[in-house]
């Protein structure tokens, strides 16, 4: 074996290399310092910019528009307060929202639970069925429901002509029932996916442990899984309820004479009447009610957390 000796660097070369390493190190240090100072900002800044541009500015614009015409005025709010019908419409919106979110949770929770305990293949298939309607346009869904729910539609034809269970058609369309069916159909995929994301973090071995200690599957579910899922359940319900307050296409197409929501009026005053001031006041009313609801929810959550924490 022949040893090849590396040529010995001259003192100048050594100095040069040291100098270069040093320069690199200094640059690296200064970059690290820069990163330490501005790195976190670089991470939160896009979020803040996004929220400002797409949430704060538009909402601020809506609020400004509700009190300007073109000078400061409260006339739009005076009009809101002046007619009891607007309070009634708000109540109708809350009622429709409450019923549809409760129905959504009742239907969505079992599905999310099944998703959690299902085998991977079955779960993928189930998710596909959940996602399919999720990607369908809301107008298309409403028109489809009209075909299904009308007097001579699929449901009534099946019940009367095929099964003979009832004599006269059920009123399923152009009333509260129609609105709830349409809204639950829209909200279900959102609820199921949100619930599933929360529920899958629950350790299923706890269920097996409970059963090992003598609980039957139902008892294990009620005593172990259900309590652990409550925070997810509460958060999802709140999310679904907030979403349900913004519906205007579904109640307009599937509802009847008295299914008028605040969001429907906002849409009417913005696009048909072109009174953006009053439309904005209606939108602010809806936003305020939603914020009050959210505040109460978070206050309750916090007090609950304090009770649980030692």
């Amino acid at each position: 074996m022949i040893l090849v000796r590396k040529p010995v660097p001259t003192p100048d070369q050594v100095r040069g290399r040291l100098f270069r390493d040093h320069a690199l190190a200094v640059r690296e240090q200064s970059f690290d310092r820069w990163l330490a100072r501005f790195g976190p900002a670089a991470l939160w800044l896009p979020g803040v910019v996004f929220m400002t541009a797409f949430f704060l500015v538009p909402v601020g614009w809506i609020v400004a528009q509700s009190v300007l015409d073109p000078d400061f005025t409260l006339k739009f709010y005076a009009r809101l307060a002046g007619a009891p019908e607007y309070a009634l419409v708000l109540w109708i919106s809350l009622k429709i929202g409450l019923i549809s979110s409760l129905a959504t949770m009742l239907a969505g929770y079992p599905v999310a639970y099944l998703l959690v305990i299902a085998r991977p293949g079955v779960r993928a298939l189930m998710l596909a069925f959940v996602l399919l309607p999720f990607w369908t346009n809301i107008l298309v869904r409403c028109y489809a429901w009209m075909l299904v729910l009308q007097t001579k539609g699929l449901v009534n034809t099946a019940l009367i002509d095929w099964l003979g269970v009832i004599a006269s058609p059920l009123p399923l369309l152009f009333n509260l029932t129609g609105v709830i069916i349409g809204m639950v159909h829209y909200l279900l995929p959102i609820a199921i996916l949100t619930l599933y994301a929360g529920l899958k973090t629950i350790d299923l071995r706890l269920l097996r442990a409970a059963q090992g200690l003598g609980a039957n599957p139902l008892r294990a579910f009620l005593a172990v899984f259900l309590p652990l899922s409550l925070p997810t359940l509460r958060a999802t319900t709140m999310l679904v309820f907030v979403l349900s307050l913004g519906f205007y296409v579904t109640p307009a197409l599937l509802g009847g004479r008295t299914e008028i929501t605040v969001a429907m009026l906002v849409s009417t005053y913005f696009s048909d009447v072109l009174n953006w001031g009053f439309g904005s006041a209606l939108a602010v009313l809806l936003l305020a009610v939603t914020l009050v609801g959210l505040t109460i929810y978070f206050a309750l959550e916090r007090s609950r957390a304090e009770v649980i924490a030692p």
């Binding site: 990163l35 019908e85 009209m146 307009a252 008295t258 913005f270 009447v273």
Partner: protein, 351 residues
């Protein structure tokens, strides 16, 4: 910190790439203008008879988009980013008053030939292009020959003409229909006596389906969900063209005639070309072709000379000359729409 830095670099690079991709790519091309109308078969016919021929003759390309909407126009004008150059507007949108004058350019009639268009249909900021009739339509299975409705009076008579009713979920047309049902003469309908008009509706309040969108009505009527409804003569006609056997029919008597206008949103960057297109769409020969295909009435009276009697009878303007139609007063409505929308919702919510 090495990993963090490389992640950060990748992140910044990705952000830069996304920003670059989001930049609008504008290809330089010959002049292009954008038309916004109602969409559907009507606009497909507009493309065939107006836009394609216009492009061939002038070299100006017309992009047509659906869902014209006044609040979108208002937003475009307010932001200064006017994307639509010609819009098909209902009469209420161009009522020649300051508020909406701010939304549309004044048309230069020294450059737009309007021969044949009636004077009352030429406005400062819009010129009529088409006429429609909102009529009483009914299901022929529900009302066989000899027992068919002939006026709005029959629409409000649930005893003689049983079955669900349908109507647009808006105060307009509803108030006119109920006044005519009571026997108010067409010339006395405006200004509308609102309370009197609503009183008539009280009688059938719970037997009406208040539909939201015009395409809903023909379908609900054909399926038998509704026995009678308001609809547009051109939509019922369109349904019968597609399905000859559909059990639907309509009456011209006491129909409400509406007029669509062509207008240019204020701030359009192609005003000259837009005015050229408007003139193109007023041509009697082209309007006649369009009317044959759609049963939408022409605004240019010279078009009638080019149509046979059978086609003429399918058009609103013909029935207007026979004094069967009420002309919708869009100027009155644009003044009262805000207040009447509130009155309307109050009435709907009351027991």
């Amino acid at each position: 910190m090495r990993i963090a830095r490389s992640t950060l670099r990748t992140g910044l690079l990705a952000a830069a790439l996304i920003a670059a991709a989001a930049l609008p790519l504008r290809a330089a091309a010959e002049e292009t203008i954008v038309f916004s109308g109602w969409g559907g078969t009507w606009q497909a016919a507009e493309k065939k008879f107006y836009f394609d021929t216009f492009e061939k003759a002038t070299g100006i390309k017309v992009i047509d988009v659906p869902d014209v909407n006044l609040s979108k126009i208002k937003a475009m004008v307010a932001s200064g980013n006017v994307e639509w150059d010609v819009v098909q507007a209902i009469g209420m949108w161009v009522p020649q008053k300051p508020a909406t004058d701010a939304l549309f350019e004044a048309l230069d009639y020294s450059k737009i030939k309007t021969d044949g268009v009636p004077k009352e249909l030429i406005r400062r900021n819009g010129v009529a292009t088409a006429t429609f009739a909102q009529v009483l339509a009914y299901n022929t299975d529900a009302f066989p020959k000899g027992k068919q409705p002939t006026s709005w009076t029959d629409f409000f008579d649930l005893k003689k003409f049983p079955g669900k009713r349908g109507f647009l979920n808006q105060p307009r047309y509803a108030l006119e229909a109920s006044l005519m049902a009571e026997g108010v003469a067409k010339k006395d309908v405006y200004p509308i006596a609102v309370e009197r008009a609503l009183k008539q509706w009280d009688g059938i309040k719970n037997d009406v389906v208040w539909w939201e969108q015009w395409p809903q009505a023909p379908g609900l009527l054909a399926s038998g969900e509704l026995a009678m409804t308001l609809s547009s003569q051109a939509r019922i006609g369109g349904l019968l063209q597609q399905e000859k056997e559909a059990p639907v029919a309509f009456i011209w008597n006491q129909g409400i005639m509406t007029v669509d206008f062509l207008a240019i949103p204020k701030g359009s960057k192609h005003k000259e070309a837009a005015q050229k297109l408007i003139e193109w769409m007023l041509d009697p020969a082209r309007q006649a072709e369009y009317a044959k295909a759609t049963a939408v009435g022409p605004s240019n009276t010279k078009a009638f000379a080019l149509l046979d009697d059978k086609t003429k009878e399918t058009l609103p303007s013909y029935h207007f000359t026979k004094d069967e139609l009420l002309v919708f007063d869009d100027l009155w409505w644009s003044d009262h729409l805000d207040q009447l929308t509130e009155t309307w919702n109050k009435w709907k919510l009351a027991k």
